[in-house]
């Protein structure tokens, strides 16, 4: 059986990212990569933050089985 849903969303920050992108800026940090990062954060720092968050989730799951 196939389940169908509907999606509608506007990303306001991406509108700004698109506009500023024409001037060579990349506020979402997503030029050339699939996932972005926060301003002031490098892609590597974003990966590390995601890893830390994953550890927190694992710990929470272990404590609340």
């Amino acid at each position: 059986m196939v389940h169908v849903g509907f999606v509608g969303n506007v990303n306001y920050l991406e509108i700004l990212d698109l506009a500023l992108g024409f001037a060579g800026m990349d506020i979402c940090g997503d030029d050339g990569v699939l996932l972005g990062h926060w301003p002031g954060q490098t892609a590597q720092e974003a990966d590390e933050a995601a890893g830390e968050f994953e550890d927190m989730r694992r710990q929470f799951a272990a404590e609340h089985p």
Binding site: H3, V7, G21, D30, L35
Partner: protein
Amino acid sequence: MWRTRMAVAAGLCVAGATGCTSLLERAKNPLHFAALYLLDRAEDMMEVAEVGVTVSAEPGFAAYGSFASLTPVGAAYVNGYFIGLGGGQFLGLGAGRLGHCPFYLSATGVLVWGYEELGWQRFDTKNMSTLHCQDVGLPGMLTAPHGRPGPAPS
């Protein structure tokens, strides 16, 4: 001449402060630079909005809304495919697919706070570094970010 150089340097400093494009590092030659520039803008354009339908073999549930990422209400869990515009692709174009791309959404919101996990194109639901994951709602926007950010506000 030195004034031009100073202006370019100042411009790069301003751009660097807010997040400068990585084009200079990625481009191999001027033609490649121009192509990547246009490709980046096309991808940015395909990330501005998400409009389409989700299709999944396994049952999911989604009744979730959040105006400007400030008023998250509802819950959603969908792990399937997306047909439409969004996530840097349009009908699979930009994702290396034809007509659709993998899609994942897990979100919950109680108006003042909410949490969203969003996956587009290539992701592993057990690997947070492949997902957008963020707190939303006013307290969520002010607390430390979780992992990789999604395109908030949205």
